[in-house]
């Protein structure tokens, strides 16, 4: 397909618009974090920084609990991800490759859990966790993150499993391999992109979760980035430099993660999720 000149122009100006729409805010934040306070709140905002300082990052790491938030967030997100994948993989396999009574109904039930507002279970979960001494533990966050990510993860893995030709499995069944072995040795490697997609989805959902983290965690040292950071917003009378530095640091881990596995994830979304 050849494009005419006007078509090319339209395409690339549209593309430029998208890049600006997404890139510009991030550019402003990241460059803002290295500007001197005076330049940050200047009446004539600068596109390119005229000053350079690392004082905001310095302050962030010296006088706030930000490093602890960062580690908490990483830990919670990693554990949530590992457990979600471990639970979702066999469940998705059973739902889409095995036959059993009540399959459709159970699957619909799981999808329905996706429907109700998470805030609904906030109060009862608080009560439940209080009973088990889980309030103010990072474990509590891992537990809720898994529960929230599971339905979508099972749903997402479905299409990847469906894309594996049945003959591959049938050959293994004929060879007498047990289901566990088929799943782990044959299916899992074949749907690696799907597993990666689910992992990224869960990691990001856990990394960004705010509501439960704000209620279930009490002590400052156990807070995750979203909550700890929201606390910094109020604590220091709008120190923009500090906040921009924090925003920059909070963005970097996901950007690094995404640089490595982003393509798989996007492939997972575009090839799988809507099937």
């Amino acid at each position: 397909m050849k494009r005419t000149l006007p078509q090319s122009l339209a395409l690339f100006s549209g593309l430029g618009l998208i890049v600006l729409l997404i890139g510009l805010p991030f550019w402003w934040v990241m460059t803002g974090s290295i500007k001197l306070p005076k330049e940050i709140i200047s009446r004539d905002p600068t596109m390119f920084p005229r000053s350079f300082t690392l004082q905001h990052f310095d302050k962030l790491f010296q006088s706030t609990d930000f490093p602890a938030y960062l580690l908490n967030s990483l830990g919670v997100a990693l554990f949530s991800t590992a457990f979600t994948v471990a639970l979702a993989l066999p469940a998705a396999y059973a739902f889409f490759r095995m036959e059993f009574p009540g399959r459709a109904a159970l699957y619909r039930l799981i999808l329905l859990t996706y429907a109700f507002p998470t805030v609904v279970v906030l109060i009862p979960i608080y009560g439940l966790f209080a009973k088990f001494g889980l309030i103010d533990t990072r474990t509590s966050l891992v537990i809720v993150n898994i529960a929230f990510a599971l339905p979508f993860s099972i749903w997402m893995m479905r299409s990847f499993l469906a894309s594996v030709p049945r003959e591959i499995e049938e050959a293994a069944i004929v060879d007498g391999a047990p289901a566990r072995v088929i799943l782990l040795r044959i299916m899992a490697p074949l749907i690696a992109p799907g597993i990666a997609s689910v992992a990224i989805f869960t990691f990001i959902a856990s990394w960004t979760e705010y509501l439960f983290a704000s209620v279930l965690i009490v002590s400052d040292a156990r807070r995750t980035i979203p909550v700890g950071f929201a606390g910094i917003i109020g604590q220091y009378q709008i120190d923009w430099g500090l906040l921009l530095a924090g925003a920059t640091i909070a963005t970097i881990p996901v950007v690094i993660l995404f640089a490595f596995v982003g393509r798989w994830f996007v492939a997972g979304l575009t090839e799988g999720a809507v099937k």
């Binding site: 549209g14 593309l15 997404i22 991030f26 402003w28 934040v29 709140i41 200047s42 009446r43 905002p45 639970l87 469940a91 059973a94 095995m98 059993f100 159970l106 619909r108 999808l111 329905l112 859990t113 429907a115 109700f116 507002p117 998470t118 805030v119 609904v120 279970v121 906030l122 109060i123 009862p124 979960i125 009560g127 439940l128 209080a130 809720v144 898994i146 529960a147 289901a179 990394w207 960004t208 705010y210 979203p226 950071f229 929201a230 917003i233 906040l243 925003a247 909070a250 963005t251 996901v254 950007v255 995404f258 982003g262 994830f265 996007v266 979304l269 575009t270 799988g272 809507v274 099937k275």
Partner: protein, 290 residues
């Protein structure tokens, strides 16, 4: 493979987990809504439908419900429109298309609190970029407070939330677009169909199933948005952005009226589940019709 016992064994961990962490609390919320409880953990007395009568009889619930509807519809319209444009562009072949497809999702992968800081700063009247930019382009002649008025706050929140979610929606649409066979377009081109004709006759109808799925998932996702609203306006000014999740949170954790919050929660769940059920019915019906 037919081995029900094995299948259940595979499903049981996930299912039990969901039942314990979501199912049981949901039951508790229902119980709580029929009781009169103020403090978490304290024993309540059974009050029947009193809470429901109070919530449904008052104006707070209905106003928040109205705001939630406005919120969901506005987000759906803005996101669908922008995402469709973006998806059509990203469906073209050009150098760097893969990078573009991967990195547009940046707004969705950063924590909400980062999104909040970005926009609070960009929209602020001291140092913010948006006001000077709008003035330069002659759209406004003096700095505006984006969260100062009721309509302004809602509009601004919808824009920010859409900014966050449109890449996700766009990628889902792209998925629908890539499944439309290319020879359909070739044939249409040979028949001399214009770009607009090709869009209205091929792209749009064949994108319908994707749009329906997105409509359902997107509605549920938008409805549940809490942190963006809470961190930017806390439901204000004068409750103009207090959607149902915000109302539930405020009732429970600011007003400490747990039973009332549980009642609103249960009503909200019923609304959403009703919507989801009707929508999935419609979805499977349209799938079977194809």
């Amino acid at each position: 493979m037919t081995n029900p016992r094995l299948a259940f064994l595979f499903i049981a961990p996930a299912l039990l987990f969901l039942l314990a962490v979501l199912g049981w609390p949901l039951v508790q919320a229902v119980i709580l809504s029929f009781q009169n409880v103020g403090v978490i953990g304290s024993a309540g007395t059974f009050v029947g439908f009193d809470n429901y009568a109070a919530v449904l009889g008052g104006s707070g619930f209905w106003r928040a419900f109205g705001r939630s509807v406005v919120w969901v519809v506005a987000n759906a319209v803005v996101q669908t429109a922008v995402a469709l444009g973006v998806a059509l562009i990203l469906n073209q072949k050009f150098p760097g298309v893969r990078i573009a497809r991967t990195w547009i999702i940046l707004t969705w992968i950063v924590p909400t609190v980062v999104v909040v800081i970005i926009w609070r700063w960009l929209l602020s009247t001291s140092g913010g970029m948006v006001n000077p930019l709008l003035i330069q382009f002659g759209i406004i002649d003096r700095p505006v407070g984006f969260f100062a008025t009721r309509e302004g706050a809602m509009t601004t929140l919808v824009m920010i939330n859409s900014w966050r979610w449109f890449p996700f929606v766009a990628l889902m649409m792209l998925a629908g677009l890539t499944r439309i066979p290319g020879d359909l377009y070739e044939a249409a081109r040979i028949d001399g169909a214009s770009a607009w004709k090709r869009f209205t006759r091929i792209t749009w109808p064949l994108l319908q199933p994707t749009l329906i799925v997105l409509g359902v998932v997107g509605t549920l996702l938008s409805f549940n948005v809490f942190d963006v609203i809470w961190l930017l306006t806390a439901g204000g000014p004068s409750q103009a952005t207090q959607t149902l999740p915000v109302l539930i949170y405020e009732t429970a954790f600011k007003g400490y009226r747990l039973s009332e919050a549980a009642t609103i929660s249960v009503l909200t769940s019923l609304l959403l589940m009703g919507f989801a059920l009707v929508a999935t019915r419609a979805m499977t019906a349209s799938e079977e019709a194809r």
